[in-house]
Structure formats: structure tokens, C-alpha cells
């Protein structure tokens, strides 16, 4: 297999909560000891429910956050401890597409200045920017006469295209797509997904695709990681994960997806989980899923299970695998 583009090792991202002078500082463990590799040209899907830390992983990888602990090896260089200035050269290789196309575009900037801004920040000259912007709008299926308009004149799908053009501006190797389609209508989602796939085929970009839409993740991803409460609980190729899931949480998550087919929906056996996801603030020891797991054993409440390889490329963190 090719050399990994990014190796994430024991990544931890804690946020302090509560600012009482006397009480012990509490920590929200958004990402707690997550490791995985990203290979060039692949799409890695990251799924989980709200609050599981999937977005934080994405943001930490492009260094929008400085991780609490752990390594992010970008082509072998650890970018986790770098300061703002030192991380700048990496910024042109890593970009991000955001969830909300309404909030992520500045309403007072024209489309051409939005798309050109990353290049301006990296010190490109105006002629170069104008030429590149013209090329980019074509690439994402917008028209040249859109360039002098403002974001409010566009629909959600078109705005997401503007966001994608901006992400492509610096010819990045790696793009974090943070729920890029969840704010869009069904018929528009497929347009954006097909475009992302075509861009990957022609430019060889690596994607980290963060989403809660399990059917879409299966469609677009080569490999998929499942997160729960800041931990990676299962990781496998998309095909393997969706046909041979091992972790009880993955099984419950997959069975909860409503199937758009009345006959299959009737036959399906849903595993309905009891209760809600616990708080990631000072979580209890042991397996994060223990409180909702059907198979919870004594060991589960005492020790956090380690990731082990149950089949080639298929990793599961569960005491049942012992």
C-alpha cells in the first residue's frame, strides 16, 4: 500500500469547561485517543452522532485547533505542536468545506473575492488570482457572470459550490468535508456528491468526509471510521464495515437508518438503543458505550477496550472481540 498522507496518532482534544476559581477545572474530552491513517486519493468517512467528536477530529487535522496531545504526521512531519506561523505552509495543502453554506460565506464579499481570498492570503498577485478564479468557477459548474454577485443571491447548492471552489483555490492535497450536504435538499445533495467524486477522480484529492448520513458515507467513502463519545470504536473498508460490522454500537447505528424501501423497512429488525449519549465531560472509566450496550460485561465498565485488528484492515475496540 502507498505511504499514508496523514497519520493520526493518539490524538486528544480536550476543551476546558466551567471557569470557577476554586472548583477543579473540568474537561470536555471531545476527542480522546484517536488513531488512524489517511492514504492519498482516498475518501475516509467519519460517522457518528452529534457530540461524538467527528467534527473536532476534522478541524484538528487542518489545525483549526491545537491538539491537547498526540501526533498528526503530515507526510511524516508532525504538525500537531507547530505554532500558527509554522503551520501556514501546510494550510495551502489542507482545506475545509463547511456544513452551513449560509454561514461560511461572508455576505459582504463578492463571489470572486471569496474564492480568491485564500490565494491573496498566501501572497498571490491579482492577475494570477483572476485567472485562477475564472478557472475554478467553471470547474464547480458556476457561470462567469456569477462572479460579481453576493452570496445571498445564490441557492444553498450554489453556495456550497462557491465554498468548494474556495477550498480548491490553493490546489490542496487534502480536504476536510464537514457535513457538506446536510443543509441541502435531496435533489441537490446528489449534484454536490457527484461533483466531489469527479474532482477526486481528476485531481486526486484526499477527503475526510464527516457526516451523519450513513447511506451517503457508504456511497462516497473507501474506508469508514465510526466514532462514539470521542473514541473511534470501529474502522474498516466501507464494504467490510457495512456488510460485517462487529461493534455493538455500529450495529445499532446501522440498523437505525430508515430504509427508503417499504418492503425492506417492514422486514428490518431495528436495534433500538435505550437512552441518550452520555456527556463527554469527565466521562466514566471503561468502554464509552457500556451504558447503552446490550452486551455489557464486567470488564466493559472497568477498562477501555483497545483497538484490535479482527480481519485485515478491520479494527474494532470492544471487549467482546477478546
Amino acid at each position: 500500500m502507498a505511504e499514508p498522507l496523514i497519520q493520526v496518532r493518539n490524538l486528544k482534544m480536550y476543551f476546558p469547561v466551567g471557569t470557577s476559581l476554586f472548583a477543579k477545572r473540568r474537561q470536555l474530552k471531545a476527542v480522546d485517543d484517536v488513531s488512524f491513517d489517511l492514504f492519498p486519493g482516498e475518501t475516509f468517512g467519519l460517522v457518528g452522532e452529534s457530540g461524538c467528536g467527528k467534527t473536532t477530529v476534522g478541524r484538528t487535522l487542518v489545525r483549526l485547533y491545537k491538539p491537547t496531545d498526540g501526533q498528526i504526521l503530515y507526510r511524516g512531519e508532525d504538525i500537531a505542536p507547530l505554532d500558527e506561523k509554522a503551520v501556514m505552509p501546510y494550510r495551502r495543502r489542507m482545506q475545509m468545506i463547511f456544513q452551513d453554506p449560509y454561514a461560511s460565506l461572508n455576505p459582504r464579499m463578492t463571489v470572486s473575492s471569496i474564492i480568491g481570498e485564500p490565494m491573496r492570503l498566501q501572497g498571490a498577485v491579482q492577475d494570477e488570482i483572476t485567472a485562477r478564479v475564472a478557472e475554478l468557477v467553471e470547474q464547480v459548474g458556476l457561470k462567469k457572470d456569477h462572479l460579481n454577485r453576493y452570496p445571498h443571491e445564490f441557492s444553498g447548492g450554489q453556495r456550497q459550490r462557491i465554498g468548494i471552489a474556495r477550498a480548491l483555490a490553493m490546489r490542496p492535497e487534502f480536504i476536510v468535508c464537514d457535513e457538506p450536504i446536510s443543509a441541502l435538499d435531496v435533489s441537490i445533495q446528489a449534484q454536490v456528491i457527484n461533483m466531489l467524486e469527479e474532482l477526486q477522480d481528476s485531481l486526486g484529492i484526499t477527503y475526510l468526509f464527516v457526516s451523519h448520513d450513513l447511506s451517503m458515507v457508504r456511497h462516497i467513502s473507501h474506508r469508514v471510521g465510526v466514532m462514539y463519545l470521542g473514541h473511534m470504536v470501529e474502522l474498516a473498508s466501507a464494504q467490510e464495515l457495512y456488510s460485517n460490522m462487529q461493534h455493538p454500537y455500529t450495529q445499532a447505528l446501522m440498523s437505525a437508518v430508515p430504509i427508503a424501501d417499504p418492503d425492506l423497512a417492514e422486514q428490518s429488525n431495528r436495534i433500538v438503543l435505550q437512552g441518550d449519549v452520555p456527556q463527554p465531560i469527565d466521562p466514566p472509566a471503561g468502554c464509552p458505550f457500556a451504558s447503552r450496550c446490550r452486551h455489557c460485561m464486567k470488564a466493559c465498565t472497568e477498562k477501555n477496550p483497545e483497538m484490535r485488528e479482527v480481519a485485515p484492515g478491520h479494527w474494532v475496540a470492544c471487549h467482546l472481540m477478546n
Binding site: E49, S50, S155, G157, Q158, D185, V186, S187, I188, Q189, A190, Q191, I193, N194, H212, L214, S215, M216, R218, H219, A238, Q239, Y242, A252, L253, M254, S255, A256, V257, P258, I259, A260, D261, P262, D263, L264, A265, R270, V272, L273, G275, D276, V277
Partner: protein, 330 residues
């Protein structure tokens, strides 16, 4: 038996720059004990349709209808006071976002007992006992403690359960659920859908489910209305819509979602373009500008409703005997 029957409903909003024609001449019915799904994209008029029926739209909305009959009564003839008496007692509503539809300043108990005290004239103790029973019915653990809490102390799933408890408090004949699970995580969504299915079976309440999620529709509804551009473009049983759809828009919707059990290598077939601007809707079929089978007639005239079976009807010019025969590409 028909519980709700709507004939030729039109709703428009006058705003500064013109008139938004949100709903344009739609007719449908809901039978007793039936669950009907209304599916469509944002701006297709699915929420406005139900808000018009309920009379919950602001004053600048112009609503006209030949008739809206609910349980034998003509709703267009009712005074606002009579309509209010109906809301919450005979028709319950569940909204999308349980955080904004519950009042943050009142406890669960006061919000849950309010409809009981107003519509059923219950005394405080009696209403409280019924509220406890309702919370148990929607499977909320530890209901005594929950009654005293405020909405911000509950998780999204619990809040939506409280919303459902309020909606069914007075034993309504019909519950309208407007995107009830869109704001929830998929495992919580599964809990809520199970609960709604259970309530439907035990109480024989009719449910109208408004959603954009075809998966939710498939697991909940026996009959489906597909809306586009303020009109119903296709209606039929769940099996007719999913296995024998006839309208190119329905084809487009089904082709643009990946299936959890399908072939992942399969390319999605998106619908080109964007939904119409309802300030200036197209003259003919609203879907014509995005339709790959568009004919000249489609741009000029609204297609008539073609009835294919007792339950299945389509509004598309392709149904005309002289139109070219086209099939859905899969």
C-alpha cells in the same frame, strides 16, 4: 371514512416585491387511522399546506379553498375561537425543532397540563395524574422528576417525546408531524419513529407526516403525496410510489439518494437545476425546467391529474395517450 378532506387549496403570501404562491390548487384526503406522508423539498409547499389547513398562518397569508372538511365539519366556516378549540384537542401538532416549540420559561408539567385544563376542564391534580400517564406512554424514564424540569434540562430526544405527549394529550383524531425527527440523531430518530408507530397502532390516530426523508416515509406511511412547486405531482400508496412511480420528479428523488443496501459503485443521478422561484412560478408544469422529458406542452399548460388506480394519481403530460413512452432510468 374520510377524516380530513381538502379541496382546491391555494395559499399565497404578499411580500414587498410580489406574491409568493406557496400552494397552488391542491386537493387530498386523509382517512381515519391512516398515516399519510407528504414529501417534498424546501419550498415545495408541504408545511404551508398543513399550516393553512390548521389556520396557523400569519395574517398576510391569503388562503382560499373550495372546502376543508375535518370530521364532518367545514373548517373554512369556523371562527378563530372555534378553530382554537379544535387545535390541541382534535388535531395535535408536532414540530421540527423541539427546542423552539416548547416554551423555555415553563416546566414540562405546566406545558403538558395546559391543553388538558383548557380543553378537558381538568383540575390540577387530575391533569397532573394524566400528565404522568402520558409521559409513561411516551416512554420517558423517571416521569415524576421530569415533570418538574424545564425544556433546557432535557435532551433533544426527550424534548421531542414531551412534544408528542402534548400533541396526544387530549386524544386527538389526527396528529400532524412536521419533520419530527429532522433535528435528531439517527438512533434517537429510530426511537421516535417506533413511538409514533406504536401510538398509531394503539390509539387509531391518523398521522400526517411532513418530511423530506424518503427513508422515514417508507417506514412510517401507508400513503404518500409528493409535492413540487406548490402542487401535488404524484400520490399513491407507499408501494406505488416506491416500486411503480410515474412522475419524472419522483424518479429523480428516488435516483438521487444512495441506498444503504444498494451497490455503492452505482452513480447517483441528480436532478439538474434548482427548484422554481415561487414568486414567479413557471406557467406550465412547475417541474418542466428541470425535467429531462420536457415537451413544448409542459411549458405552456399545467398537466391534468391522471388517475391510474383508486389510490394512484399523477399530474404529468407524459400520461397523455399521445405522449412518448418513457421509462425511469435506474
Amino acid at each position: 371514512m374520510k377524516l380530513l378532506e381538502v379541496n382546491n387549496l391555494n395559499t399565497s403570501f404578499s411580500i414587498g416585491v410580489g406574491t409568493v404562491q406557496a400552494v397552488r390548487g391542491i386537493s387530498f384526503h386523509v382517512d381515519q387511522g391512516e398515516s399519510v406522508g407528504i414529501v417534498g423539498e424546501s419550498g415545495s409547499g408541504k408545511s404551508v399546506t398543513m399550516l393553512s389547513v390548521m389556520g396557523l398562518l400569519p395574517n398576510y397569508a391569503a388562503i382560499t379553498a373550495d372546502s376543508i372538511r375535518f370530521d364532518g365539519r367545514e373548517m373554512t366556516q369556523l371562527s378563530p375561537r372555534e378553530l382554537r378549540a379544535m387545535h390541541g384537542s382534535e388535531i395535535g401538532m408536532i414540530f421540527q425543532d423541539p427546542m423552539t416549540s416548547l416554551n423555555p420559561l415553563f416546566t414540562v408539567e405546566s406545558q403538558l397540563t395546559e391543553p388538558l385544563r383548557i380543553h378537558r376542564n381538568m383540575r390540577k391534580a387530575q391533569a397532573r395524574a394524566r400528565a404522568l400517564e402520558l409521559l409513561r406512554q411516551v416512554e420517558i424514564p423517571n416521569p415524576e422528576a421530569r415533570l418538574k424540569q424545564y425544556p433546557h434540562e432535557l435532551s433533544g430526544g426527550l424534548r421531542q417525546r414531551v412534544m408528542i405527549a402534548i400533541a396526544v394529550a387530549c386524544g386527538p383524531k389526527m396528529v400532524i408531524a412536521d419533520e419530527p425527527t429532522t433535528a435528531l440523531d439517527v438512533t434517537i430518530q429510530a426511537q421516535i419513529l417506533d413511538l409514533l408507530n406504536h401510538l398509531k397502532q394503539t390509539t387509531q390516530t391518523s398521522i400526517i407526516m411532513i418530511t423530506h426523508d424518503l427513508g422515514v416515509i417508507a417506514s412510517m406511511c401507508s400513503r404518500i403525496l409528493v409535492m413540487y412547486g406548490g402542487t401535488i405531482c404524484e400520490e399513491g400508496t407507499a408501494r406505488e410510489i416506491f416500486y411503480a412511480p410515474k412522475h419524472p420528479y419522483t424518479w429523480g428523488l428516488l435516483n438521487s439518494i444512495p441506498r444503504i443496501n444498494g451497490d455503492p459503485e452505482e452513480k447517483l443521478i441528480p436532478i439538474k437545476g434548482t427548484p422554481p422561484d415561487m414568486l414567479m412560478p413557471p406557467k406550465g408544469c412547475p417541474f418542466a425546467p428541470r425535467c429531462r422529458y420536457c415537451m413544448p406542452v409542459c411549458r405552456e399548460y399545467m398537466p391534468p391529474r391522471t388517475v391510474l388506480s383508486d389510490t394512484h394519481a399523477v399530474s404529468c403530460h407524459l400520461m397523455h395517450p399521445k405522449a412518448p413512452k418513457v421509462a425511469r432510468e435506474v
